[in-house]
């Protein structure tokens, strides 16, 4: 209890001698503990309780004679106990207000008598007796910082004296007191961590001394417990010393060696909060708003960057290994600090001054096909240390054996650690927090294969936790594990690969693996020949090595550059070979990697040309949903290519895909399956097959109550299917029109693109159009023109075309959309070619209604169309020409087009290689040729020769338009001659 009292208890003055115990939570819990100890002492240890103290404990009491009952002689205000020592002196004496007590039995009695004043009594007693043990057992047992030789002294006494019995009791008492001491210290440590919940970050724990201090021993004698650097958002970083005397600012302790850095540079504050209140106005302001203050709640306002590391001064020969660790760990800390800097700079009210961003620009040079796992998730520290589970202490002990044991002890400790539930976060974080990760990673650098295996078996499990992953990467674990991949030991290889697979779940880790040559080595692991026949033990291990290699590549393949690296390392043929494996647990990572990499064209080609489609299709028929999902997903990505779509059909992969639609509960699988069906439907041969398998009927059923990722694909597939007239009817008959129209109100842009396309395709059927019209679908489509996404705008405009074509009274309907015509004309200002083409197509439809044509003319459609004529894009040219042809039908638009310079560019369209451009252009020219000036322009631009050629076309519309135009030009020429020559 001596150490606890001097070290943990908070005294008003730091000096020894008399002082007051402050009223703080730490002290209160200390007092309560001591009180409990004293209260139960005489019943638990009756023999020890009777031991007479060397000197009585004396203090000023609030007890009075009336408080004492039997067993005491009361004379006036004075009281004497009936219990006496061998010489007849009473064990307790009260002469108010002073009391003196000679044994624990009397102490126990006092606290029992004192009832509600007992805490006060204990406090008074301790305040008056700063070192009670010295009084109880003699001055040689006084608590001296940094040494404890009390037991040795007792041994000396045993040698000297012959009062064996008494000494034995003394020994017991000493042991009891020491137990109390330990208990008090550990409890007060918990208290301290309660008010500084972020106090023990993992790194400093490496040097946590058994007494709980995190300071070098020569500072512990000054009562210093730990050092913190706190960066408030409104002031300079605060370098803080937490000591038994309180908390104060120091001279900035960064590393050992600077002695005066430890000096106090501020007043001493009773606790961290008080200090922060006085140093950071922002903190003070916010903390005052908190009622029932909890530090946790202010965690948002400040971050403890880290508790400083310390290196013990004393050197011994075991140090070299530890130094290597501390170097690594300083590196990691630097990184930590950078990270913390960033998190701080993002706080309100602080100027961002992140030095060079997070780890430089390289971080962002890499794209990933998958959304990053948890890249920017803030470090989550153990929130509250109040109830450290028992596992924590057990694991701490095991880590101690790992550090200080030879191979045998290390292996035992590693095996024992594996008996903890390593899937549980408590255990995972406990290993990290007691410095276990550093040791485990260090072990990987040794020559001891067993230690490496044991360490990897643990790392493999705990690296499922994202915080642990980060810590492993920070400690340089990936580099070591990549090296292990070269080991001849197969167990080591597969364990390292499997752990890499777990760690490489975030971008930085994946980059580290690549930069240290990990991809090449992992690809090499794939090089085993799986034999479907019975395997020997060794072959089985080879397969396991390959499987774990594939797992690691799967994780790594989420970064684009790694996909490239896998390909360059020759991974594709090896993956293709493993794809023939009969084992699902091998196939899952292999197909997983392939489908991940299929985002790259090179892989899509390889999957097609190396015959992998056949294997993918084969595995669609297996009964493992995960594998089926990856296969479907690979097909989804690859079927953008026509040849691949054909292969899927030829390998009879379409039917299994349709069958998989029945697994509607597994949404990931459903998304992959519907995606594959969608992309395969781009080929009409496949659509015919799907028709046979009644795929559309099922797909329509999936239009409601599905996640968006499924809906996008389902609607995409329906949109492709609806290109066939029979399927449009099928969709209607299955009740698909209404849910499709309903989806037009959504917000997911990919979904909107597909829905508009599907609705547009359906609208080409009159019966469908009636339903769409009734559901006000055209208005919904029209309002999507306002969507900011050009893809949605274009797709909506395309869909509007068949609607106007097929709707009853479409002119009237279009006019009823307030501002609708102006909206669509204004889209001609878009810079997106697809939007322009689709809007021109829609304008061509709109302009069929004379009244609407007048309106759009008023909105300036003519100069806007004319402005677009210089385009070289054939799709736009075609629809632009259509629109111009239609718009010529109103007022003086023909003349205006000519004046706006639209004619000459249109003549050039006739030289386009796209024949569909010719037809529309000829029609536009025919309309324009009704104005003489346009005829002149056309003639000057050599239109006649071009049109003459087209008059011989098999396309009758083109023929007629070309001929009409030539006729108009000819007629003008004749009239001209007539005028000139009479």
């Amino acid at each position: 209890m001596g150490v606890a009292l001097t070290r943990a208890a908070q005294w008003t003055t730091a000096s020894s001698g008399t002082g007051k115990l402050e009223i703080t939570p730490v002290n209160e819990s200390l007092l309560k503990e001591i009180l409990q100890f004293v209260e139960q002492f005489s019943s638990r240890h009756p023999q020890e309780a009777r031991l007479v103290f060397k000197e009585p404990l004396q203090w000023t009491t609030s007890l009075e004679a009336s408080d004492f009952k039997t067993e005491y002689d009361i004379s006036g205000p004075a009281v004497k106990s009936q219990e006496t020592d061998r010489d007849g002196h009473p064990m307790l004496q009260l002469t108010p207000p002073s009391i003196s007590v000679h044994s624990f039995s009397q102490l126990s009695k006092i606290v029992q008598l004192a009832t509600d004043k007992k805490l006060k009594e204990v406090r008074a007693c301790l305040e008056a007796n700063r070192d009670p043990i010295a009084k109880m057992l003699g001055p040689s047992f006084a608590t001296v910082e940094g040494e404890d030789s009390s037991v040795l002294r007792l041994l000396e006494e045993v040698k000297e004296g012959d009062q064996a019995k008494e000494t034995e009791i003394k020994v017991k008492l000493i042991i009891l007191l020491q137990q109390l001491d330990t208990q008090l210290l550990s409890n007060s440590l918990k208290q301290i961590s309660q008010w500084v919940p972020f106090l023990p970050p993992p790194h400093s724990v490496y040097y946590e001394f058994t007494n709980g201090c995190r300071t070098p021993p020569w500072r512990q004698v000054h009562g210093e417990i730990c050092y913190l650097v706190i960066k408030p958002c409104d002031t300079q970083p605060l370098h803080i010393t937490c000591s038994t005397a309180g908390v104060f600012l120091n001279g900035g302790i960064w590393q050992e060696g600077e002695e005066n850095a430890y000096d106090r540079t501020s007043d001493v504050y009773r606790d961290l909060v008080t200090l922060l209140k006085s140093k950071s106005p922002h903190f003070a302001e916010n903390i005052n708003k908190q009622v029932g203050f909890h530090v946790k709640q202010v965690a948002g306002f400040l971050r403890v960057i880290f508790a400083l590391p310390i290196t013990p001064r004393s050197t011994d020969d075991k140090k070299s290994k530890k130094n290597a660790v501390s170097e690594k760990f300083a590196e990691a800390q630097e990184k930590m600090q950078k990270k913390a800097d960033v998190s701080v700079s993002s706080l309100p009210g602080r100027q961002s001054k992140t030095p060079g961003g997070v780890g430089g620009a390289d971080d962002f040079s890499e794209s990933s096909s998958e959304s990053e796992e948890d890249e920017e998730q803030p470090e989550r520290r153990t929130e509250s240390n109040t109830d450290l589970p028992s596992e924590y202490w057990q694991i701490q002990k095991l880590v101690k054996y790992l550090k200080g044991g030879n191979q045998t002890a290390t292996v035992i400790a590693l095996c024992s650690m594996r008996d903890f539930n390593l899937a549980q976060e408590t255990c995972q974080l406990a290993i990290r927090d007691v410095g276990g990760l550093e040791v485990l990673i260090n072990l990987l650098d040794t020559e001891e294969i067993k230690c490496k295996i044991g360490s990897l078996k643990i790392l493999k499990e705990i690296s499922r936790n994202s915080q642990i992953r980060r810590a492993i990467a920070d400690l340089g674990g990936l580099q070591t594990m990549v090296k292990i991949l070269d080991s001849p030991d197969k167990d080591l290889k597969y364990l390292a690969a499997e752990t890499i697979a777990n760690v490489a779940k975030f971008r930085r880790a994946r980059r580290t693996v690549r930069q240290h040559g990990g991809i090449k080595r992992l690809v090499k692991l794939l090089d085993c020949v799986p034999d479907s026949a019975a395997l020997t033990e060794e072959q089985e291990k080879d397969v396991e090595v390959a499987r774990c290699g594939a797992l690691a590549l799967w994780s790594c393949s989420k970064s684009t550059r790694n996909k490239e690296a896998i390909r360059k390392a020759g991974g594709i043929p090896l993956l293709a070979r493993l794809l023939k494996s009969p084992h699902e647990n091998m196939l899952i990572p292999v197909v997983g990697t392939l489908q991940e990499c299929a985002s790259e064209r090179s892989y899509r080609i390889a999957i097609q040309t190396e015959g992998m489609i056949e294997d993918l299709v084969k595995n669609l028929n297996c009964d493992n949903h995960e594998l089926q999902m990856h296969c479907a997903s690979a097909i989804f990505k690859c079927a953008e290519d026509k040849r691949t779509r054909d292969l899927v059909r030829q390998c009879e992969g379409l039917q299994p895909l349709v069958t998989l639609l029945s697994q509607a509960d597994n949404k990931q699988l459903l998304a992959a399956t519907t995606g594959a069906i969608w992309k395969c439907s781009i080929s009409m041969e496949n659509v015919a097959k799907f028709q046979d398998y009644k795929a559309l009927e099922t797909l329509v059923g999936l239009l409601t109550d599905q996640p968006e990722e499924v809906l996008v694909n389902v609607v995409g597939a329906l949109g492709e299917g609806a290109q066939k007239p029979a399927n449009r009817a099928t969709i209607r008959k299955c009740g698909g029109i209404q849910p499709l129209v309903n989806l037009l109100t959504g917000t997911n842009q990919a979904l909107l693109v597909n829905v508009t396309k599907a609705v547009g395709a359906c609208a080409t059927e009159l019966e469908n159009m009636t339903i769409i019209d009734r559901l006000d679908g055209v208005r919904l489509l029209w309002s999507l023109l306002k969507n900011p996404n050009p893809d949605v705008q274009a797709s909506a405009a395309w869909a509007i075309c068949p609607c106007i074509e097929n709707a009853k009274d479409s002119g009237e309907m279009v006019r009823s959309f307030v501002g609708g015509l102006e909206l669509i004309v204004n889209l001609l200002k878009s810079t997106n070619k697809e939007v322009l083409a689709s809007v021109c197509a829609a304008i061509a439809k709109i302009a069929k209604d004379e009244e609407n044509l007048a309106v759009i003319t008023d909105h300036g459609v003519v100069p806007m169309l004319a402005k677009l004529t210089n385009t070289t894009d054939d799709k736009l040219r075609r629809h632009l020409a259509e629109a111009i042809a239609r718009c010529c039908m109103w007022g003086s638009n023909r003349v205006l087009f000519g004046e706006a310079g639209a004619v000459a560019p249109l003549v050039r369209y006739l030289k386009s290689k796209d024949t569909s451009v010719h037809q529309a252009t000829a029609q536009a020219l025919f309309q324009l040729s009704k104005d003489p000036n346009n005829c002149i322009t056309m003639h000057d631009n050599g239109v006649v020769k071009l049109l003459l050629g087209m008059m011989g076309s098999t396309d009758e519309v083109l023929q007629e338009a070309a001929a009409g135009c030539v006729a108009n030009i000819r007629r003008l020429a004749l009239a001209n001659e007539k005028a000139r020559y009479g």
Binding site: G405, V411, A413, S416, D419
Partner: protein, 208 residues
Amino acid sequence: MAEMSAMNRKLIQNLAETLSKQVKHFNKTEAECLIRLFNGLLGDQSDRRVGNGLDRGKFRNILHNTFGMTDDMIMDRVFRAFDKDNDSYVSVKEWIEGLSIFLRGTLDEKIKYCFDVYDLNGDGYISREEMFHMLKNSLIRQPTEEDPDEGIKDLVEITLKKMDHDHDSRLSYADFEKAVRDENLLLEAFGTCLPDAKNMESVLSFCP
């Protein structure tokens, strides 16, 4: 002289023939090579007359130099395990038999062998005391600790908790076997008594 060595060679070949049939894992050529290695280690003729094999000291040297073992007590126990007839010499047959476990042993054979090594008094159990004895040098002692043996005692308890399946505070062969099967790393739980891969290679490299 040439006759002598020719005769010698014949003898060795015959012996190898016989032993390779008696001992698992080695063919005749390998057995022959290991016999030669044995003879080489035995030294000159005069010594050979003294006993009929490698004595404790010589054998321990081999364990130390060739197989990288360091723990005296364990090396003694390995000697006892090799010396099946308990005559304080490892005969050529015992040598080949021992090496067959060392170099080619199956897991079963190794479990049996390690258990024999660790069962110091040969009573069929590895007791708490035996464990303590074998582990006592496995931790770096902290002079600050009250009881420097506390760590070792704790290690013994951890091991018992892990391996003593029938909870009788000692490891029977069945306990040991089950624990090692569950976790192969525990095969040499109480000290290195088998060569590692590197040392094995160096021995096998003697053979052509």
